[in-house]
């Protein structure tokens, strides 16, 4: 067995140096068996409490530095590299004068004289010995379990074998559908293998999930291409020297070039047991992590404490503090046992479970399901206390529930609504910091690294940290699996108040998400998401239904991405766009009919005059956009006003919309002695071609008949200045808050070209700008050259943009007023009831 063979690992040059300088020291000697997560964490805690107290030697069976074992799954899935998961590098051992014998397991203990013996023949004295030998994967001894290609999932070597195998082999069978098995299966399938999971129980992860959540998980993993066989009892692993398949007791068989056994772990107690230390399932320890020999401590997955063994890191952080207290001679309260919670590290699958959810006598369930969003939540309550929680699909509130489980909070006042989460519970949706503000200082924020709120806040205030990157570097919070990143960011924001500038790069769209506009746009298209709830679900929104900032933005992005297919969501529209009129300060509305390019007629003016009389409209005003505004109309009258205007041929002017507003023109060749082209006529054509189109922000155009530019075309989003030889096309002007003159895009010779460029430009703006970004800031951001590249240098790209614009216009040019005058959305305009 490799355990006893001498390791081929060559020693790092400084190892002997430390050895030489330290043998002289008079300090008590601490030997740690196991260079894994628990042993080294204890050492870190000890160095914090009592640096330089011990002369420390660490033996590690693996020929490696101490690494973050839980990140093996992301390595397998190709999301991280080995370098990313090293917890303590050589420099750390050196700086702290720690002698490391990596690749050299301890094989014997002389308790009487205080020595350990290693496989490489070392004999090292100790005053205190710490056993941190972890656990070993269980291998079910079915026939064939020793064949080549049958492996477990415990250490870096296993991961290397899997990555290597995936490159050459086709079929993988994973035996065991628990946490580890599924992470292995997911990883192998991302590496391109065809993966079958054989699971004995009737649902997946039966120790962490109930049947409902287990079923949702199975469906999701099947959608991702895994084959999952439940109630599968393995009978035999078949093949020659190398594995070829797996056969079940019911006779079914599955081809396999690689078999991963992930059926559970067993505390690694061999060393303790064979030297007479008290062991049960694990090495037995008291609250101070002391074994039956007072000079020997044990910690981590190898121990049994109050009859329980643990297989996760969170309890280990608590144990490490207790063990460090003992070694430092300070008396802490010791280790009291841990409530545990679980997450599955499969990207995009959100599940959380914590506490005891087995149900049973005296317990009650609170269940919430939203099939459309794929959300399932179950809270188990016993005597007004939350004792367990299973969350699938929406796990944002996991830490909140888990804290209540740990604290034994009396939940009777929250009972009715707590299943909707902390946001609902505390009306906190509008205050993004409420959730973190309310957590106690010892609430654990980062489960992977055991970092609590108080530690992060102290690091921020005392270390002057201002960014996520700095907090990661200083505290390790959010540096492992990353699922607490949102929480950590909130905590930074909360601690620094206005001093917090989110990490470099564009700002998040709003408080409901960490993603910026660009990412949201890209992901909607990349993932083919076609409605708002799915965006919130897939992109992990932190609020159940967004807010007034993100809903309109997401609605627009969907509208733009899926023309003709996406069903506009009125509930994601600002009032003006929802009722197609501008709300005024007194709650009345203004109505601006389209007056094509500023040209009107007696018939239109007469109809306007008539509605003004008929509905007692208090103000009639000519706007800055060459048309007429009717102000002060009561909401209940809107549809009737539109019916009358519509009868005279008038349509909505979209004065309320993030859409085409006006096309201003001058009189041009028709009348003006300087006119070079038919600016009025071209304006009318442009407005007819582009009205009704929804855009990131409002969009204004103008056509001037000569360079005197009476229509102010050089401060419009798209402006045309006519000249003798054709048309100068201008883009990105703004006459509003920050006046910006246009950039000249190019010059064309015909009206048709001018219209083609106009449509292509609008479509490019529609597809690329962020919601509420007008063309001027957009062009400042991306640069005019980027626009010229697409529109003038590349005629094929321009035509494609124009065609996509035409496609989207097919559904956009229905007059919204006409539809509503005919009864659409009637509930928007009428009160529910009038009383009294």
């Amino acid at each position: 067995m490799s355990f006893f063979t001498s390791p081929s690992f060559h020693r790092h040059p400084w190892t002997s140096q430390v050895e030489a300088t330290m043998t002289k020291s008079k300090k008590p000697r601490l030997v740690i068996v196991g260079n894994g997560m628990a042993g080294i964490r204890t050492l870190e805690e000890l160095l914090k409490r009592a640096p330089d107290t011990y002369d420390v030697t660490v033996f590690g069976q693996e020929p490696r530095l101490n690494y973050n074992r839980i990140m093996l799954s992301p390595i397998l899935a190709g999301e991280k590299a080995y370098q990313d998961i090293i917890l303590n590098d050589w420099d750390w051992y050196e700086a702290n004068n720690i002698r490391l014998h990596a690749g050299d397991p301890v094989i014997g203990i002389d308790q009487k004289h205080g020595f350990v013996f290693s496989a490489a023949g070392r004999k090292v004295p100790y005053d205190k010995l710490l056993l941190a030998t972890g656990s070993e994967p269980i291998v079910i001894p079915v026939p064939g379990h020793k064949k080549e290609g049958v492996i477990t999932f415990r250490d870096m070597k296993d991961v290397e074998t899997m990555i290597d195998g995936a490159g050459r082999l086709q079929h993988a069978v994973v035996i065991g559908g628990g946490l580890l098995g599924l992470e292995a299966a997911y990883g192998l399938s991302t590496l391109g293998m065809k993966v079958t999971v054989l699971h004995l129980a009737p649902h997946l992860m039966e120790r962490q999930l109930d049947i409902a959540a287990g079923t949702l998980l199975k469906q999701e993993l099947e959608r991702r291409g895994l084959d999952i066989i439940l109630e599968a009892d393995t009978a035999e692993i078949t093949g020659g020297d190398h594995v070829e398949g797996v056969t079940l007791k019911d006779g079914r068989s599955f081809p396999a070039d690689l078999v991963v056994m992930a059926v559970g772990i067993r505390p690694n107690t061999w060393l303790a047991r064979s030297h007479g230390l008290a062991t049960g399932r694990g090495v037995q320890v008291d609250d101070h992590m002391i074994t039956s020999n007072p000079d020997i401590l044990a910690i981590g997955e190898c121990v049994e404490h109050r009859g329980l063994c643990y297989g996760l890191v969170a309890p280990i952080w608590d144990m490490a503090r207790a063990a460090a207290d003992t070694l430092a001679g300070s008396d802490g309260k010791g280790y009291q046992g841990s409530a545990i919670s679980t997450k599955l590290k499969v990207t995009g699958v959100d599940l959380f479970s914590g506490g005891d959810f087995s149900g049973g006598k005296g317990t009650e369930d609170i269940v919430f399901r939203d099939a459309a969003r794929g959300v399932y939540k179950r809270l188990v309550v016993k005597k007004d206390r939350l004792i367990g929680a299973v969350l699938y699909g929406d796990t944002g509130d996991g830490p909140w529930y888990f804290q209540m489980i740990k604290d034994g909070t009396d939940i009777s006042p929250l009972r009715g609504t707590m299943v909707f989460g902390q946001g609902f519970e505390e009306g906190a949706l509008s205050d993004p910091f409420k959730a973190v503000a309310d957590l106690p200082a010892d609430a654990e924020i980062c489960g992977c690294n055991g970092v609590c709120k108080g530690t992060i806040q102290t690091a921020i205030t005392e270390g002057g940290l201002t960014s996520l990157a700095e907090v990661r570097a200083q505290t390790k919070a959010s540096s492992s699996c990353g699922s607490c990143t949102g929480l950590v960011e909130k905590l930074i924001g909360f601690t620094l108040g206005d001093g917090y500038v989110a990490d470099s790069g564009p700002k998040p769209l709003c408080g409901c998400t960490a993603l910026d506009h660009g990412e949201v746009r890209r992901l909607i298209v990349a993932k083919g998401i076609k409605d708002i709830p799915s965006v919130f679900q897939a992109l992990e929104w932190r609020t159940p239904d967004g807010c007034h900032t993100c809903r309109p933005a997401v609605n627009y992005y969907l509208l733009c991405a899926w023309p003709g297919e996406y069903q506009d969501d009125a509930r994601a529209r600002f009032i003006n766009e929802r009722v197609h009129a501008n709300i005024q300060k007194d709650g009345t509305y203004s109505v601006v009919p389209r007056m094509w390019a500023g040209v009107t007629s007696a018939k239109e003016l007469r109809a306007i005059a008539d509605v003004v009389d008929k509905f007692n409209i208090p103000t009639v005003k000519v706007t800055g956009g060459q048309r007429i505004d009717l102000l002060g109309i009561k909401k209940d009258d809107l549809t009737a006003v539109w019916a009358d205007l519509g009868a005279a041929g008038m349509v909505s002017g979209h004065a309320y919309g993030k859409s085409l507003r006006t096309v201003k023109t001058c009189v041009g060749t028709d009348w003006c002695r300087f006119g070079t082209q038919d600016s009025t006529g071209l304006g009318v054509k442009l407005e007819h071609a582009t009205w009704g189109s929804w855009m990131p922000h409002k969009f204004k155009m103008a056509v001037s008949g000569c360079p005197r530019n009476c229509a102010e075309a050089t401060i419009k989003d798209f402006g045309i200045v006519c000249v003798d030889s054709g048309y100068e096309l201008h883009v990105g002007g703004n006459g509003g808050i920050h006046v910006r003159a246009t950039d000249l895009l190019c010059k064309v010779t015909t009206e048709e070209e001018a219209i083609e460029y106009c449509m292509a430009f609008i479509q490019m703006y529609r597809e690329e700008a962020w919601y509420l970004e007008r063309t001027a800031p957009w062009i400042e951001r991306v640069g005019i050259d980027h626009i010229r590249d697409r529109l003038t240098s590349d005629s094929e790209a321009r035509i494609k943009l124009r065609d996509r614009f035409l496609l989207s216009q097919k559904d956009a040019q229905d007059d919204p007023w006409a539809a509503r005058a005919n009864g659409m959305d009637a509930h928007e305009y009428q009160p529910l009831v009038t009383i009294g």
């Binding site: 909707f420 946001g423 609902f424 009306g427 949706l429 509008s430 205050d431 609020t543 159940p544 239904d545 967004g546 807010c547 007034h548 809903r551 309109p552 009125a570 509930r571 994601a572 600002f574 009032i575 929802r578 009722v579 709300i583 300060k585 709650g587 509930h827 009160p831 529910l832 009831v833 009038t834 009383i835 009294g836």
Partner: protein, 116 residues
């Protein structure tokens, strides 16, 4: 002192779009009824504590509504402005029966007679 109020049938829950709102008109002013995504119904006086903006026209999210005039966020549960803004608009009790009918507690004096 709170005036006595009577529960009055004002309509059905399905008359209000989810994440939307409807107005109830009374001689003493409008009341806005809101329906949230979790199907709760809330009632507030239809006047923003800032400058009387009609809250019924705002965007509903979570248990809050954003006023259409200057974006104050008002809690539907308490009528109070959230975040840095302060102010409160009146909240009325509502009851939704199992069949979806909405009963609104209209303070006496706000309504003479009820029309259902």
């Amino acid at each position: 002192m709170v005036k006595a109020s009577t529960f009055t049938l004002v309509g059905q829950r399905d008359d209000i779009p989810r994440l939307g709102s409807r107005r109830v008109r009374t001689p003493a002013g409008e009341i806005a009824l809101f329906r949230t995504s979790d199907d709760k119904v809330f009632a507030l006086r239809n006047e923003c504590p800032h400058k009387k903006g009609p809250l019924s026209e705002g965007i509903v999210h979570g248990h809050s509504v954003t006023c259409p005039l200057h974006n104050w966020v008002i809690s539907l549960e308490t009528g109070e402005a959230q975040g840095a803004d302060t102010g409160c608009t009146g909240k009325l009790a509502v009851e939704v029966r199992d069949d979806g009918s909405i009963y609104l507690a209209i303070p006496s004096g706000m309504a003479e007679a009820a029309v259902a």
